[in-house]
Structures are given as C-alpha cells and as structure tokens.
C-alpha cells in the first residue's frame, strides 16, 4: 500500500478553492517534487497533507503504518527564528516533541536520536552554537536534522533551498538526495523545475487542475517542455 494516497482532493482557504481534483500516490522511497507558480496551492496542499488544514473535498489517506504525527516537516523559515537564541542541539531535540508526548523532559533515547541525526546531517560540530550565527545552509541542515527526529520514513520539505547561495543550494539538494537513497521518502515543494527534474522520481505540477506523472512522462509532456524551456 502507498504511504500517502490523495484522491479527488480540493485545497484552499474557507470556501476559496485554489486547486481541484488532486490525485496522486506516494510510495515508499519515492521523491516527489511539487512544482508550480506562486499561489498555485503548493503550500496549501502541504498544510493539508500535514493535517493543519481540512480538505475542502476528497481525502488524504495515510497507509503502510504511517501515523499522522510521523511526518517530518521542514517549514519555510520565519522571521522569529532569525534572532532566536537557541543552540543547535536544543532545536534538533525539539524534533522529538511528539515522541515525548506529555512527558515534560526528553529521555536518553530521544537525546541519542537527536545526536545521531545531527551527525547524519553533519551539524554535530556546532551542536552548542547559536542557531542565528549559522549560515543559511547550515540552518537548513539543522532543521532537516530536527525533521528527521520527528520521522524516520517521510519528509515534507517546503522550499528547502530558498534564500541559499548556489553552493549551499547544491549541498542541500545532495543532502536530500542522500536521505532519499537511504530510503527516506521525500515530498518537496520547489520553484526550481530543473532541479526538481534532476532529483525527483515523480512530479506534481500544481495549477487549477494539477497533473501528476513520473519524471520521464513530465519531461516529454507539453507542460514540462514549456516550463523547462522557460526555466
């Protein structure tokens, strides 16, 4: 069974529908890139997948033993975080909050998990350092480590490279690709169609009625060609 099955989904705010008839499936090990213009409903779709927003129509089914709280999420950075006094370790550890539940403090297993994920994302060297002093790329890797604490199997990434310089962007894509090779399923929102095509296995192109296809189908479709020639 697929990890996530979306059928006949409409997303939007209140009664304002942004995108209709969204149908797709994400299987274990897939790398799905969600592309499309600003305002095409990419972020709204992601919020609906995370259960932060109710679907206007249709439904999202989680399968394969995936629980609602087991999705690792990499949100876009907020203004608050820019001057937040928090060490890297504190932030990564906060990824364990759903594991801890109502228990007030993190236990040894959760601390170990945070440590492992810091090593995995290569940020353990500045575990005690303040988040706001890191470079943009380092900050994103810290947030990725936090997302990995929340989920071993599925990551949702919202514009993971926005605001990064070309070198950091490439590093970030590599890091995501490496996680995917290790078996982590990825759903990534991106502006960058060409990068999406380089790494993803499937493409969801958001517009009024979104289309879902594999990478190769998309490359040969009129829609894909049109976007690739522009990008």
């Amino acid at each position: 069974m697929a990890l996530i099955t979306v059928s006949g989904l409409s997303v939007g705010y209140d009664s304002n529908v942004i995108a209709n008839d969204i149908d797709f499936e994400v299987n274990k090990g897939d790398y799905l890139a969600v592309v499309g213009e600003n305002g095409s409903g990419k972020s709204t779709l992601m919020k609906t997948l995370l259960g932060l927003q109710h679907p206007l129509k249709g439904k999202v089914t989680l399968g394969d033993g995936l629980k609602k709280n087991e999705i690792g999420y990499l949100p876009q950075q907020t203004l608050v975080q820019k001057d937040f006094p928090a060490s890297v370790r504190e932030i990564v550890l906060s990824g364990c909050q759903s594991r801890a539940g109502l228990r007030p403090f993190y236990n040894a297993a959760e601390k170990k998990l945070a440590q492992e994920n810091m090593e995995r994302m290569n940020v353990e060297g500045f575990a005690g350092k303040c988040y706001r002093q890191l470079s943009g790329g380092q900050q994103q890797r810290v947030l990725l480590a936090r997302a990995l604490c929340a989920s071993r199997s599925l990551l949702l990434l919202d514009e993971p490279v926005s605001g990064l310089d070309p070198k950091a962007t490439a590093d970030m894509y590599d890091a995501i690709k490496r996680l995917n090779d290790e078996g982590v399923t990825i759903i990534m929102i991106s502006h960058d169609v060409s990068a999406a095509l380089r790494f993803a296995t499937h493409i969801l192109h958001m517009r009024n009625t979104p289309v879902f296809m594999t990478k190769d189908e998309y490359k040969n479709s009129d829609l894909g060609k049109c976007y690739l020639s522009v990008g």
Binding site: L50, G51, L52, K68, N69, I71, Y73, P75, T78, V80, Q81, D83, F84, P85, A86, S87, E90, I91, L93, S94, G95, Q97, S98, A100, P104, F105, Y106, G128, K129, C130, Y131, R132, Q133, R146, A147, A150, L156
Partner: protein, 278 residues
C-alpha cells in the same frame, strides 16, 4: 544609609516583601523570552491596562481581596486577545490597543465617579506605578503572591520543552501533533497571572519592563534558550533586589527604581554583547 536598611530589615514584613519582590521578578522574567520572541510583548502591555481597569472596579466595590476580581478578568482578556490575534477581522494589535485603552479610560472614570477615598490621585498613581513604599503590601498579599509566583515557576519548568518548541516554530510543532493552540493559551493565562501579581510591586504601567528587559539583556550575550532563560532569571532577581534596597535607602518609588536598575543592566549587557562579538 546602611543603618536605615538594617533597621528596615528587622521588620518581618519588609523581609517578606523582599522575598515576594524577588519571586515576582523571577516569574516575570521566565516568560519574557517567549513573549519577546513571539512578538507578544504588546499583549503583556495591553493586559496590564486591563488589570488596571479591573483593579479600579475592585477598589470601587471595596473588595478586601482585589485579586479575586482582577485575576479572572485579566485572564479572560488574555484569552480574548490571543484569539483576536489569530482570526483577523480586526487585527490583533489593533484589538489589543482598543481593549487596553478602553480599560484604562474605564478604570480611571469609575474611580473618579465612585471612589470613596480621600486621596484619589494617590490611589490612581499607586495602581499605575506601584506602591510608593513596599511596606504597604499586606501580609495576605504577600502570601498570595508567593503562592502564585511558585505556581508560575512550576508551570514553566514542567512545560519548558513544549514552550521552547512552540515559540521556536509553531508550524513544525503543529505538524508533529503538538497542540500549539493549547500551549499558546497556557502562555497567555500564565502571563496574565504574572501581570496581576507583579502589578502590586511595580504597578500596571511598569510591568512590561519587568517582563521584557531581563530577556532582552540576556539575549545580547547568550545563544541558547536555556542559558538565556537562566541568565534572565538571575538578572531579574538581582535587579529587583538591588532596586528594592536602593528604594528603601533613598526613599524612591520601588517600581520605578527596579525598572531603572533593569535598564542599566540592559545597557551593560548590550555593551558586553557588542564587545564579545568582535
């Protein structure tokens, strides 16, 4: 001068007042970091005006224990303001401005109309800027403040990790199944308790200083949430202690003196922060 302080300290209620003052300073500083970072500072300020209005009503009705009325009203308004910040027919900050100015005007008006006191402007001044002398706190005030302060500290310690998570990244917390709304509510309720308790020490207009300055000072120097929290608590307690001692020795109003010490500490931390970064 030190002689007069020693004389003061011989009275048990002076020692109580010192202890309560430091407890208030401790619990108001704990939530300061969260308030500053969540851009909630203005809610704290608004709530203190609401507390003033409620206090005015309580004194007109002649309640012996004003907190019974002031606390629920302030908590209610905190919840209201938080809700307003989320669904935005009237924007959150505009809502806060409306409620707080309204409460201020209402409070002053009814104090003028119905007050039986012979020293009206003195009463108003005390509510706005705190007791002119810390000695006017009654024993009952002292006990209740101590209990509430300890409760606030306990809540903070129990929910420390959740408060951090929700403050740092609300959408991530929600996505991983943490009930961020409930924790925001908890924060708002605790803030109103802090404000009502602290009002007796520094008055409703000066509370924000007690909440905001220690946090901002600590953020100049430290880079982890735990260190910032611990340092701002220590700083706040020391400033309150120093402020109270100075106010006794020099005969200055206690609230304003504590705030002045807090401001001085902020500038010292600011300079340390700038020099340390080089």
């Amino acid at each position: 001068m030190s002689g007069s302080i020693a004389t003061y300290l011989e009275y048990p209620f002076v020692r109580y007042a010192l202890i309560v003052g430091m407890l208030i300073a401790l619990c108001s500083s704990l939530f300061g970091v969260t308030l500053v970072l969540k851009r909630f500072s203005f809610i704290g300020d608004g709530l203190s005006h609401v507390a003033f209005g409620a206090m005015a009503v309580a004194s007109v009705v002649n309640l012996t224990n004003q907190m019974i009325l002031v606390l629920p009203i302030t908590v209610g308004c905190a919840i209201l303001m938080l809700r307003a910040g989320q669904n935005s027919r009237i924007r959150g900050d505009a809502m806060v401005a409306m409620v707080s100015v309204g409460a201020l005007a209402f409070g002053y008006l009814i104090m003028n109309l119905f007050s039986t006191s012979t020293n009206l402007s003195g009463d108003v001044c005390t509510t706005l800027f705190g007791s002119t002398s810390i000695l006017t706190l009654t024993e009952q005030d002292v006990l209740l403040s101590a209990i509430l302060s300890l409760a606030v500290v306990a809540v903070f310690i129990i929910f420390y990790n959740k408060i951090f998570a929700v403050t740092f990244d609300e959408s991530f917390s929600k996505a991983t199944g943490t009930n961020a709304g409930a924790y925001n509510l908890l924060i708002a309720v605790v803030i109103s308790v802090v404000i009502v308790v602290a009002m007796q020490l520094v008055g409703s207009l000066l509370i924000s200083a007690l909440v905001v300055f220690p946090a901002l000072s600590a953020m100049r120097i430290f880079g982890s949430f735990k260190k910032v929290t611990v340092f701002s608590a220590v700083l706040s307690v020391s400033c309150a202690f120093a402020g109270m001692i100075i106010s006794m020795a020099a005969g200055t109003p206690v609230g304003a003196t504590i705030v002045m010490v807090d401001i001085a500490a902020f500038f010292i931390c600011f300079i340390i922060g700038v020099v340390g970064r080089r």
